[in-house]
Symmetry: C2
Subunit: 419 residues, 2 copies
């Protein structure tokens, strides 16, 4: 017997027939003797409709009322799934955030979980009742409904898993796991059997939109293994298997120590959400960078990569940095008024760039990973415009026209191709 | 300054534009200096969709989960109206049943209100904040969401009005009041300025579907005047008037003592939801009626009118009674097996009947109201098949073909026609 959290997103509960399939997945685990808490999102499209209504009501709206409106979607799904489980002979009841209660701070719209009261839930789980928990929502100390922002049901799932000390948190989605790269670009991409929390964080934030970053952070903190698996597989055909059982098709996100066969590189990702800004011949004197990036920070613009060339003449230098595409115009408007004070020669910008990243915990112990990357790209005549690195990641900025070529080349060079 | 409850039904909040008009009605009262609690239904169509989903999920579903699902509709409207009020500069917040809390028993789907905690609400009202209350729902002692059945938002409105000691409860609907008869049949029907709780109960249960019966009972018990008025009138054009102010267009439902000019008859109603069953030549002996109506009661069939002729020969009699059309077939199935024990000659049934009623508190002190009714119908050659009476009502069962003729004739005879 294990205690299991299962989370199903919007496409997995899009209509009654899909919810019925979710119920079959749940029933399979219950019949295998597991205690189950299920976390559900709103039916696909519902949240968009509710958000649209709040916008029509007023573009500037009280976040507390926004949360009241949008949380209704998960409430509906939780009740419907409980009904269907009961009709299949599975004991179940729905739980809203305020009923558990799942307490959060008062940051409506993107609340943080303070505390999950587990006693009521655990008592029911011990009685063999499935807990169907409305995802994405909690209750503030003021007694108002709070929500966690888009994708917040993943966060609910991990928080509940941590509170009830679940053995695993299964995230059911429309793909059967995390891949070494985007299968739409790399037909040879393979599913990762296991990936560490740290790698998953890089994979999640760099474009593989399978898991919400915050949920992975929380899972890492509480050491809750997460399994990414498909809700579109036949529920009957899947085995009610458990952590470590190789018959489960999916990707286990777990502690690095639990990964025996470590790959040097686990995945290649890319992000088109990058815009490049270059200041030519900026004055090379102390405080220049502080002024530029201070102003961008004040404008709440997130700067990612930064490259400053060595000053050729000791007086001027070129400065390149990237911002999200959505902030490109705003960033330009912040920089332009500095033309005089910084006396730069020209301001260049481009959105025709892509950030390609190589990710893997193995980098920590293997030298030459970066060199291999740069050589592989050079061999294909792909020019690197900027570089940034972390302990387990190397990212390069290149011309977006080379996206597919670069990703495929790196996928092959690091021996990730399906054999 | 008065304390006012305003209730808006589904068609009044059908979309964002309609909710904006509701907000204008509320703003008008706030600007007149009144403290306001607004009770809202789900947006028209929403509840039907939610109910349909629960049916698809399982025809036999847990009423607690049904309540969880369907209560989401009112939750959405309450948040949206609060947002729109705020955008108009009116301080407002939404309240779900569990937040007030509005406590009910555990009869999910048709719960009864036990207690409304008024302290939080009143504190906010005293601060000048509009309370936007999600109608139709409460919370049980077990902490589950309960609902009151269709039309339950009227009940919420009166319960809130009683709890906060409101001066009046305004029910905004798609008509501008209660009429002396159905305007679709009687073009001369006039709006009643005032009607007593007792009369309204008869009018409501007999077909004038303006107010939910339970809400009128509760208003009578707590002596909360109710005003039926239109949400489709121009909010700007209406005066923010108050009880007793004749400039308010609507019908005031209030204590009989507050009605100065009492009409003998206030209204003529009709109901097509009647089916007639006649047992010919039933044995005329003690216990026969008890057996028949006992079995019908056991089958949960509500018998309305009962007529038993005087026995001609002392041995046999004819027995006629009416049941709701929806129970007609079931009632026949209950009676048929009694053929032997009661040894009746024949079982006749018809759904081609209508019940026409004359209602008015004036009947208490005026003789001859019934006689006038029977004579008027006789003059038009309309045969009366059954009669039932109460202190303030006379109902007759007639051939449904004569519905319009009977209603118009009586409307004229009792001098209710527009002059």
């Amino acid at each position: 017997m294990a205690r299991l959290v299962m989370k199903f997103g919007g496409t997995s509960v899009a209509d009654i027939e899909r919810i019925r399939i979710v119920a079959q997945h749940v029933k399979r685990e219950v019949e295998a003797g597991h205690q189950v808490a299920v976390i559900v999102s709103a039916m696909a499209g519902t949240t968009n409709q509710l958000v649209e209504w709040t916008r029509e009501a007023s573009p500037l709206h009280d976040a507390r009322e926004y949360d009241t409106v949008v949380s209704a979607g998960e409430q509906v799904t939780s009740g419907l799934l409980a009904i269907i489980l009961q009709s299949m002979g599975v004991s179940a009841r729905s739980w809203q955030g305020w009923q558990i209660p799942l307490r959060t701070d008062e940051t409506h719209g993107s609340a943080r979980i303070d505390d999950v009261e587990d006693s009521l839930l655990v008592a029911r789980l011990d009685e063999g009742q499935v807990a169907v928990v409305a995802g994405f929502q909690g209750i503030s100390d003021a007694g108002r409904i709070t929500t966690f922002g888009r994708g917040g049901s993943d966060t609910t799932a991990v928080a509940i898993a941590a509170a009830i000390k679940a053995d695993r948190c299964d995230i059911y989605t429309d793909v059967d796991g995390v891949y070494t790269s985007d299968p739409r670009i790399v037909s040879n991409a393979t599913r990762l059997e296991r990936v560490s929390y740290e790698e998953m964080l890089e994979l999640a934030s760099l474009g593989a939109k399978v898991l919400q970053t915050r949920s992975v952070e929380m899972a890492m903190k509480h050491d809750i293994p997460m399994m990414v698996r498909s809700s579109f597989d036949d529920p009957e055909a899947l085995s009610a298997a458990f952590c470590g059982d190789n018959s489960v098709v999916g990707t286990l996100v777990c502690d690095e120590d639990e990964i025996v066969e470590k790959h040097v590189v686990s995945g290649i990702t890319y992000s088109r959400d990058e815009a490049k800004i270059t200041l030519l011949e900026v004055q090379d004197k102390p405080g220049v960078s502080a002024e530029i990036f201070g102003l961008l920070a004040d404008a709440n613009i997130n700067v990612d990569m930064i490259v400053q060339n060595v000053s050729a003449n000791g007086a001027h230098t070129d400065l390149t940095f990237t911002v999200p595409v959505s902030d490109f115009e705003r960033a330009n408007n912040v920089i332009k008024p500095l033309e005089e004070s910084l006396s730069y020669r020209d301001l260049l910008g481009s959105t025709d760039v892509v950030k390609v990243s190589v990710i893997g915990v193995g980098m920590r112990s293997h030298a030459g990973v970066a060199a291999k990357m740069f050589k592989a790209l050079a061999d294909k005549n792909i020019n690197i415009q900027a570089i940034s690195t972390s302990e387990i990641k190397i990212s390069v900025l290149i011309d977006s026209a080379y996206t597919e070529l670069a990703v495929r080349t790196l996928h092959s060079v690091y021996e990730l191709d399906k054999t």
